[in-house]
């Protein structure tokens, strides 16, 4: 019986282009980079035969072998440290955190070792540290984190978070090729969202780190956001359109370094800025963006910069609690209306 349940394991090489969800796009990006460069390898918990908790690395071990897909003990400091060491040897590790919440267990090595090596003695660490982030999937306080602001105040780390399948593939490839450490956050709610399925080009492409993307053009108000909240912003923009408000949505894609040009360009056009993110409000990346806008686009503003973010609490589990915690389309619509009327 048990053998009948076992599926024949055949490595399925992802197609180069074609329709892909975000998880398929990330997998295809990693796969293609492993084909292109023998120095690229995977390291993390259950990334091998099991394919990772979210199956991002499914099938990769069957094709590339266990030498290049390394299952580790439950030891994030060891994962980050080993990735750093291998990177110093010229390898290109892609390290997975099973959930990005566990990045805290590797925090010391990320912020003190990976981030500072080049500055201290000129040795670069070309490693990618990736994992599923984000709330809204009823996973409670330890499987729902958005940790970007833990790291934005550490010099030496680049941080990206895609919101489309196209960007997910382009950014994972750019991160793997980058000569410095890159944190790559994947919102778990977006992995298999049918709405994000899109046709990917067959050609090799990257999405440059440090560049935002305008997801929707508008004249009246800018929503600056990233990750799963891009969808919240787009939905809010559609509702607001019915009321005659023309909303622009900026998807940051890279959180460090911030694309100041894109942020300021949009705000100078619309004169009203709403920053939306899923992490808690206080000390979140929204404060930094608001400061940039205030310092460098003050004369263009017609209203104070508004931030919409989650409560200053841990992420609660129960659906009514989590929905109250998280910014909803209605919250964004209400905030945008007030901002437009200011």
């Amino acid at each position: 019986m048990s053998t009948a349940l076992k599926k024949e394991r055949k490595p399925q090489r992802p197609p180069r282009g074609g329709l892909a969800t975000m998880v398929e796009a990330i997998r295809a990006g990693i796969w293609e980079e492993m084909e292109r460069d023998p120095a690229v390898f995977l390291i993390g918990e259950d990334v091998g035969t099991y394919g990772g908790a979210f199956k991002v690395t499914e099938g990769i071990i069957d094709h590339f072998g266990p030498e290049r897909v390394i299952d580790t003990p439950i030891a994030e400091a060891a994962i980050v440290g080993a990735a750093c060491g291998a990177a110093l040897m010229g390898m290109r590790p892609v390290a997975e955190f099973q959930f990005i919440d566990f990045i805290s267990c590797g925090f010391d090595l990320l912020t003190n070792y990976a981030a500072k090596c080049r500055y201290r003695w000129g040795a670069n660490i070309p490693a990618v540290f990736r994992g599923p982030c984000g709330s809204g999937v009823r996973s409670g306080p330890f499987h729902s984190l958005n940790p970007e602001s833990f790291f934005t105040n550490t010099a030496g780390l680049k941080i990206v978070e895609p919101s489309t399948a196209y960007d997910a593939k382009g950014l994972i490839k750019a991160a793997i090729r980058d000569p410095d450490p890159v944190l790559y956050f994947e919102h778990k709610k977006l992995y298999r969202l049918p709405r994000l399925r899109e046709e990917l080009p067959e050609d090799d492409y990257i999405v440059e780190i440090g560049k935002a993307r305008t997801r929707r053009e508008g004249r009246d108000l800018s929503i600056i956001t990233f990750g799963a909240q891009v969808l919240t912003a787009l939905d809010a923009a559609e509702e607001l359109e019915k009321e005659g408000l023309d909303v622009e949505v900026i998807d940051l894609r890279t959180l460090a370094p911030l694309d100041k040009e894109a942020i300021l360009g949009s705000v100078k056009k619309t004169s009203r800025a709403l920053i939306l993110h899923e992490a808690s409000l206080t000390g979140g990346i929204g404060g930094e963006i608001a400061a940039i806008i205030s310092a460098e686009a003050f004369e263009w503003l017609d209203a104070p910069v508004v931030r919409v973010a989650s409560l200053d609490t841990p992420v609660p589990y129960s659906p009514p609690l989590e929905d109250y915690y998280l910014p909803q389309v209605k919250d964004v619509v209400d905030a945008a209306r007030k901002l437009a009327a200011y």
């Binding site: 030498e67 010229g90 010391d108 070792y113």
Partner: protein
């Protein structure tokens, strides 16, 4: 797993001073080289203290006085392409790896010509081509990093081993456990020297851990362990050589505990009020690693006192010359602080330091 006490410290016969083990494969020439490294380590540290008192060293000064044999003897067992990652008490291992005194002196004085250009302190730098990987202040972190070095080397089909050092304090960290465990389960050729020098800053080892010997932890990782007399440079060499042979055969990691004693405080400012009266003097008088090795070299007729004095004089000349070089180095240019976080030639404008933009 077995814990070997073959090289553990032994009490000398009543009334006899301690020497070193005589069962060794070291040639006379190698022994004299070991002697040179021991003296170099001690005398460079003394020079650094002098520079500190002249306020030319801007940060702290960390000594390995009394435990030089552990670092020198163990690192000497490596091949040139093998890797080390020392802790602050292993300056001797850094010299064995081919780093020059001038580089260390420039580092301590925060000079532009130091290997980190003034951005970091003391032995906090590295030369990947020499297999030298400097530590960071966070103890234990270098164990997983060295594990990664060896993992990378294995994928690249390079036949190297890694030697990492840890103290009795650093062995309490989570990173140490995670790194050891990962290296052990991957059967990587990692040799860890746990230096039992009695104190972690002011904390005695009895307040650090409930195990009597640090090496007992080897059982937790399923790897072999050795206890060695850390003040016997010959024993340190021999035990490390055995461990390297084991690791190089692909049999996995090894933990070696070196019993030694830290005669100075954590750093130069530490008044050592926590040390029982007479303890330091006892080790200085009866168990100094250099005294012991000198006695061994003379007893075994490896060298005459004149020969040893000659070596010491040559070391002094080298330190003199290197001090002059390091002192003549300029301090770094202030704007240098803004460079080097990323590869500035290719990063987007937002990451470029302001000085590059103007």
């Amino acid at each position: 797993m077995r814990i070997s006490t073959k090289y553990a410290p032994r009490k000398p016969p009543e009334g006899k001073p301690r020497s070193c083990i005589t069962d060794t494969s070291l040639t006379h020439e190698q022994m004299l080289e070991l002697y040179r490294f021991l003296k170099l380590t001690r005398l460079v540290e003394e020079r650094i203290v002098n520079l500190y008192r002249q306020t030319k060293v801007v940060g702290g000064v960390y000594r390995s006085l009394g435990q030089e044999a552990t670092a020198v003897g163990s690192a000497y067992a490596l091949r040139p392409d093998d890797f080390i990652t020392p802790i602050i008490r292993d300056l001797g291992a850094v010299f064995v790896k081919g780093i020059r005194p001038r580089e260390i002196l420039a580092q301590y004085m925060a000079k532009a010509w130091g290997p980190s250009g003034g951005k970091d302190l003391n032995v906090h730098f590295g030369y990947l081509d020499k297999g030298f990987l400097g530590p960071i202040s966070h103890l234990g972190d270098m164990i997983p990093v060295m594990t990664g070095i060896l993992l990378g080397a294995r994928m690249q089909k390079k036949d190297i081993v890694g030697l990492a050092y840890i103290g009795d304090g650093g062995a309490s960290t989570g990173a140490f456990y995670e790194g050891m465990n990962f290296a052990a389960v991957q059967r990587l050729p990692l040799i860890v020297i746990a230096e039992y020098n009695h104190y972690a800053y002011s904390t005695p080892t009895s307040s650090q851990t409930a195990v009597r010997n640090l090496v007992e932890r080897a059982a937790a990782f399923g790897i072999p362990g050795y206890i060695v007399d850390g003040n016997d440079v010959v024993a340190c060499y021999e035990v490390t050589k055995q461990a390297i042979d084991y690791a190089r055969k692909g049999r996995g990691a090894v933990l070696i505990e070196a019993k030694t004693y830290r005669r100075k405080g954590h750093a130069e400012h530490d008044d050592q009020r926590y040390v029982p009266a007479g303890e330091i003097e006892y080790w200085e008088k009866h168990n100094d690693p250099i005294d012991r090795f000198e006695k061994f070299l003379l007893d075994q007729k490896v060298a005459t006192q004149e020969k040893l004095d000659e070596i010491t004089a040559a070391v002094m000349r080298e330190i003199e010359e290197d001090s002059e070089w390091a002192e003549s180095s300029p301090m770094p240019e202030p704007e240098g602080a803004a460079y080097g976080v990323f590869d500035n030639s290719i990063v987007p404008p937002a990451f470029r330091p302001k000085v590059l933009e103007s």
